[in-house]
Symmetry: C2
Subunit: 381 residues, 2 copies
């Protein structure tokens, strides 16, 4: 028997009952049924983002929602500071360049997150900056930025804060209103444990002012049209209906479990995985590690491509490699969505076997035992 288990930081595994929910006969979106679905999802999305603001749902990849938020919030006359500390951060710099948004890039060493002090320095140096764009959990490097501290600062300065929360929302603490984030972005295929195809932005009143004031060249990704439709629980363009139908039970499940409990469980999975890596003599990549994904440095003499291939082909575990300059150098394990401690013991077990297969020197069971110790401590009380 070989079961397929996704440990990639998106897409993640989709619960069986959600798969079947999405397989129900097609429904039409210009109906009372669908309006009610939109309304219920919206209320639960507000819980997910911890906000009273409107949360827009776009049919598209996370990139579409990030583009919508960044471009919408940066019409001419405004200037952005874009933190660049990984592959996804780089993409948001590219959005600024592509749309001719005036901006300064703040490069931060890969593996590190943005800290309030870095942002403060940059804002002090250029008083024209009135928008800060950063990635909460940089999936490519698994680095965590201090959104809470930075939010305190941007509110003091009257700047807008746009945060890519694609591998943060629903996995690690995200408090949109309390922290003062003006546009928080996520996608369906991470902690929301759905297939890819939906993207979300929670938009603050301050951000709406900016968006409504500007006239940027966008139609499909123009948040104004979504806002207008949302007033009647409607959508401007035909939505990915089957995915939205899956979204409702996912969000209900998240509310039932409670965000605090989910954040705690995700953190425990990350702690267990980090303990396992250490016990196996492996190094972690990130200096500021996030709890939604763990990056492990591939040891010398171990071939990364072979490692991932054997994880998948021999044992059914799909893990992720590195991107950009990290290609071949790290492997990444997701802790988001429909994954638990016992799945995680499994992936560590398979990792041990594959490392052994490449002649890497380790104590068989050391990784699994280290993770199990973390899990047992957390789960037997």
């Amino acid at each position: 028997m070989k079961k397929l288990r996704l440990f990639t930081p998106g897409p993640t595994m989709v619960p069986e009952d959600i798969l079947l929910e999405m397989a129900r006969p097609m429904e039409h979106h210009r109906t009372a049924y669908y309006k009610d679905l939109v309304k219920q999802c919206h209320e639960l999305l507000q819980y997910l983002f911890q906000t009273r603001a409107q949360v827009v749902t776009i049919t598209g990849s996370g990139t579409s929602a990030a583009e919508a938020a960044i471009v919408g919030c940066c019409p001419p006359g405004h200037k952005a500071l874009v933190v660049n500390n990984g592959k996804f951060a780089e993409r948001w710099v590219k959005v600024c360049t592509t749309f001719g948004i005036e901006h300064t890039t703040l490069p931060i060493t890969w593996g590190h997150g943005a800290k309030a002090a870095d942002i403060k320095k940059a804002l002090d140096a250029d008083r024209k900056i009135d928008t800060v764009i950063l990635v909460h959990s940089e999936t490519s490097t698994t680095a965590l930025s201090d959104v809470e501290g930075i939010g305190r600062l941007t509110r003091e300065r009257g700047a807008l804060l746009i945060v890519d929360g694609i591998t943060a929302v629903g996995a690690i603490p995200v408090k949109t209103d309390e922290w003062g984030v003006d546009a928080y972005i996520t996608g369906s295929q991470k902690a929301l444990m759905l297939p890819p195809g939906l993207a979300f932005v929670a938009v603050s009143d301050r951000a709406w002012e900016r968006i409504e004031s500007g006239k940027m060249p966008m139609l499909y990704n123009d948040l104004k049209a979504y806002r207008k439709s949302l007033q009647e629980w409607d959508v401007p363009y035909t939505p990915a209906i089957s995915l939205v139908r899956g979204l409702l039970p996912v969000l209900k499940g998240i509310k039932e479990r409670g965000l605090e409990a989910i954040w705690k469980e995700t953190a425990m999975l990350a702690r267990g995985t980090r303990a396992a890596a250490e016990a196996l003599g492996l190094k972690l990549y990130a200096a500021d590690p996030v709890d939604s994904v763990t990056a492990v440095v591939v040891p010398d003499k171990v071939n990364e491509a072979t490692l991932r291939k054997s994880m998948r082909d021999k044992y059914g575990f799909q893990i992720a490699g590195g991107q950009g300059e990290l290609k071949g150098k790290i492997v990444r394990f997701s802790h988001m969505g429909y994954v638990d401690a016992f799945d995680t013991l499994g992936v560590i077990g398979a990792l041990e076997m594959c490392l052994l297969g490449q002649g890497f020197n380790l104590t068989v069971g050391a990784g699994v035992a280290a993770a199990q110790k973390v899990f047992a401590e957390a789960m037997t009380h």
Copy 2:
């Protein structure tokens, strides 16, 4: 018992086996498995569009692909002629306005399609126009435009032809290469009988030249990135994996049945529906009716909202009303995708019952019999 049957011109019904295919456990998109899926789909999409050109798949509504094609093909220095003969045509005018594309709008009375003579006159009047944008099957009015004739003209003039084929491709004759269409657009939720969430554009070499030459403000909808990825059967942004997995068997099924046979069957369903309407003393709306959707004028004394509500609530048939200025005046029946003659007899039966319910004077069974006559003639040979 009350079965739900969608007769809306998108979304249409999804075959049960395709629903289950999409309910299979999630797979990752950076894998050999997914590359092979992309490759197979691409080959079959070329058959669907009748083209040797590249066909780009975008995660989004049809509007995203139309925006991608129009904006990509109209960088500064070019001028477009946009036919406006319905709600969707109007949206493409709005794309031109939003992105500052130099254009002339050619208004055509609703219910009518664009003809080569209209386009010729407009091109003669303004030699600067080098791009023509129109809707093949204008879903809002059910009017058919003469893409073949217009394609002959645009090739003679060296102009690009961009066609919204959202309710045309896979339903009625579409011959991208033979007709010389440079960008043909469609969506997943019409003749492709999938849930909404995927959009497609077949892009000619001439169109690629234009797209590559220009630098328009777009990232998510920038076709250049999709083209580059497609060379390695890859995608630039996380795709709607479950929908793409449903796409493959749908396209295989279309190839097995053969496009000619599908076009013939769609035309037969439209003929049967039109015959039924006539037999019931109902008027058709379109002057140039398309075969993928039929619009019937709601008679005086019949309330359109009540009619649609009773169709749905009493008998389970979801039909569409009119949009914009046609709201309350017409009802529309789709002939696309997973719908056959026997489903169509059903919807006509329900229509008769609902008209009777509002005191409309008709001969019970006259509509059903008229459609049955058309179907029997076509299907018993």
